[in-house]
Symmetry: C2
DNA sequence: TCCAACTATCTCGATGTCAAGAGACTTCAC
DNA sequence: GTGAAGTCTCTTGACATCGAGATAGTTGGA
């Protein structure tokens, strides 16, 4: 089946036959798919009255394991946002009672963000909903294909994830 | 090589051993990779003094072929943004002299957005720069692997691209 | 002990995006 | 032809994000 990127690539081949646009076959699909996923996730989370950004922060804390605490700095690196954004997010989540800010006992500059019981429950519910939806999207592929796809993607993400930049 | 999603998945397996988190192996990688690509693209375009959103609009027009005209509505479907956003983008591109708004001769509700000569040149330059950068990112993979990856991704994007939703 | 360099978090202003709805025009059934 | 429904673009207000800089605290060498 044809997709939008097939149309995009053939348009470029017509307009710029001098250029090799093969990279777009992979990377434009990644970008567009991510865009579609964002929308789908927004819908899935709406059932649990959570925004995608709230999910990102809550689940980062959830994954940390009891006592569900991380510093804002640790949350930054996991969520790929800037520090100003994270401060704002923590403020709003705290106001909703899903997280709590506490002073870091070992560094007075620092803060620890801790999941409340309600925050933990909301994260767990939303994760279950997300996985259900993602399984439906991935039903297009066989188990083997999903494995192949994950492995190929890992080769592309690893350099980004394992360098300081 | 391990990436951030491997760490994320193993954290979930430790914290929620009751859940099957296999879907994340694929879709979290897609989202994170898209995030990294956004940043990389921003850098590549900065050399041509273009923002990513400007590139998206200019190249959509460029791909349309001479006379490089599309309606705002056609631009919407290609760029996956809302109509309010597109109005704003066209305004700003017009102010910079990269596009021009013209009345649609066949529908008086409508407008046609047309690339100026400068807009066309800027789009061409930026595309060349982008392709160069993307080739570097994809150098991790063999030609065959890139083909496989593109084909697998197409299976996931096609349902989104070929349904009204 | 003191100071410079560094680190962690927060503040602030600018900006791009979205969602909802308004206004103008077109289409189609009757 | 006429009116209702549909379509296309633009307006508006709210909001999350970014980037740069400010503030407070820590660290290590002289």
């Amino acid at each position: 089946m044809e997709d939008e990127v097939d149309r995009l690539v053939s348009a470029w081949r017509r307009e710029r036959p001098d250029l090799d646009v093969e990279p777009l076959e992979v990377l434009s699909r990644v970008s567009r798919l991510a865009r579609h996923l964002d929308r789908a996730r927004r819908l899935a989370f709406a059932e649990h009255e959570l925004e995608p950004w709230e999910f990102d922060v809550l689940t980062a804390l959830r994954r940390a394991g009891a006592p569900y605490q991380l510093s804002p700095g640790q949350l930054l690196t996991q969520t790929l946002v800037t520090s100003g954004t994270m401060t704002n997010r923590i403020d709003r989540l705290a106001k909703k009672g899903l997280v709590q800010r506490e002073p870091d006992p070992s560094d007075r500059r620092g803060v620890l963000v801790r999941l409340t019981d309600e925050g933990r429950d909301r994260a767990d519910e939303a994760l279950a909903g997300l996985l259900e939806q993602e399984r439906a999207i991935l039903a297009e592929l066989s188990r083997t294909q999903r494995r192949e796809l994950a492995d190929l993607l890992r080769q592309l993400t690893a350099p980004f994830d394992n360098t300081p930049g």
